[in-house]
Structure formats: C-alpha cells, structure tokens
C-alpha cells in the first residue's frame, strides 16, 4: 500500500504539476477540519474532455485491460438523463480505486472512488448523462494493474413534455 502511494505522489508531481490523490490512503494530510483528509481534487483530470486525456492524467502510461471480473450495472434505458443509477461490483481482490468515465459527456471523468484498506465494492452512485453512450468503469488494484468494463446506456426523453 505504502509503495504505490509514494510512487503515485512522485509520478503525479512530475506529470505537469497534477497533484494526484495521495491523501485517500490513510495518510493524515489535513486541511480544514481535523480528522478528515483533504484529497487534492485532480482538477485537470476532471476538466479533461476526452477519454484519452483522462486516462493519461490519472493513470499515466498504464492502459486498462478489459476484464469480466467487474459487474458494471446500469439501466439499459435511462428515462431521465439527470439521474442514472450506476453500481460497480467486482470479484477482483486488492481493489484500490474505482473510476467512472462517460466519454459522451462534456467532462468525461465522472468520479473516482478510493477504497481504503477495508473499503469494498459494490459502489453505487447516481450520475448525469448528456446523451446515450457507453459508461466505462476502471478498477485499479494493489498490483498496479487497471481493469475495465463498459456498458451502453440509452438516454431517452419522456414521451410527453407539455
């Protein structure tokens, strides 16, 4: 655990000043309130408008490998694009981060969930999708590998609208 965090720190500083998340892994980097960790928010990754930029900014040179050990559950048809439920579960062990991408959205990175030593999937959230697209879930494990799963969501409008 320690090793990855330090390497991620050094790498992050090198990659154009992006302060990647060090704090989430139990290190007491505080700002503001005492007992919580103020993870520096990866602004450039969240501002990125293409999938490749997000991957490069978050994971540098590592490329995610499709894996069927990830269960990405999304409704096939989302009747309301502003509330689309997403659940990511996985049988992989040593999961550290779960990242959700929406390549069809103006801002591709939707969220990154950092599981502490005792954190586990499944993780469930509700997201906003601008149009029908494939949602991508990337699971980062302790061995430094990245595993990905993709699921299409059809975003439609209601039939009536006044």
């Amino acid at each position: 655990m320690k090793m990855t965090r330090r390497r991620v720190m050094r790498g992050a500083v090198g990659a154009g000043g992006l302060r990647l998340l060090p704090g989430g892994l139990g290190v007491g980097l505080f700002c503001g309130s005492a007992t919580t960790v103020a993870a520096p928010w990866p602004r450039s990754a969240f501002d990125a408008t293409t999938r490749d930029d997000v991957l490069r900014l978050l994971f540098r040179d590592k490329t995610p490998v499709p894996s069927n050990a990830i269960q990405l559950t999304v409704p096939e048809i989302a009747e309301n694009g502003s509330v689309v439920p997403v659940t990511v579960a996985t049988s992989l062990s040593g999961v550290q981060t779960i990242t959700l991408l929406a390549p069809g959205n103006p801002r591709v990175l939707m969220g990154q969930y950092v599981l502490g030593a005792r954190g586990h999937a499944p993780v469930s959230v509700r997201v906003r999708l601008g149009k029908s697209q494939d949602i991508v879930a990337i699971v980062g494990t302790a061995d430094g590998k990245l595993h990905s799963a993709v699921k299409p969501v059809k975003v439609t409008l209601g039939g009536c609208g006044g």
């Binding site: 998340l21 993870a39 990154q112 030593a117 999937a121 959230v125």
Partner: protein
C-alpha cells in the same frame, strides 16, 4: 446532526457494513454565460470521505456529472454495531459539512 447529510449504515454477519448516503446539494454544472460567453464554474461537491476509527476508509472524488442530491453507497469491512462512521463533504466553493452515523 448535520442538516445536509443523511446516512444509514447496516452491518451484516460478515462484519461488512453497507453505508448509504444522501447529501442535500444542488450540484450545479458549469455554464457558459450567454451574455458574456464567460465560463461560470459549477457548484458541486468535490470530495466525500468516510472515516472509521480515525482511518479514512472511503473517499469519493466527484465531478459535475454527479446528480443533484448525490447518493453514494459503499461497503466497509471490520465494522461492528454501534461504531460511528464520520462522513464529510467539501465542495467547489469550500463549503462543507460532516455527520456521524452510528452503525445499526
């Protein structure tokens, strides 16, 4: 009790607690002001973290794609009934809130 965070934590037999959170927040996305064409940044939660026994067991970094009144559910191992999990959020304007959730 905080007025923006609502949470439930339920521990199952194997000591894993499922924590469900609902946070009252508008989560507005960035807008281009039609008049000036200037980019107006969104007002949304950037980070939600959960601390159990002094250790950050879960941390969510959110973008503007997270829905209004964000919902978040996750699981934490090594939790017993009666433990307290402290949840904290912080948004793009520096506002924040915290809540203690006792595990049922």
């Amino acid at each position: 009790m905080s007025n923006t965070i609502r949470g439930r934590a339920k521990v199952s037999a194997n000591g894993q607690a499922e924590i469900r959170l609902l946070i009252n927040h508008p989560m507005t996305i960035e807008r281009i002001d039609p008049a000036t064409g200037k980019r107006q940044p969104g007002h949304f939660i950037e980070e939600i973290s959960a601390v159990h026994k002094g250790e950050t067991v879960f941390s969510a970094l959110c973008g503007q794609a997270v829905s209004q009144n964000p919902f978040l559910a996750f699981t934490v191992a090594g939790v017993e009934k009666g433990d307290v999990i402290t949840v904290h959020w912080r948004d793009t304007k520096g506002e924040n809130d915290r809540a203690d959730i006792t595990v049922a």
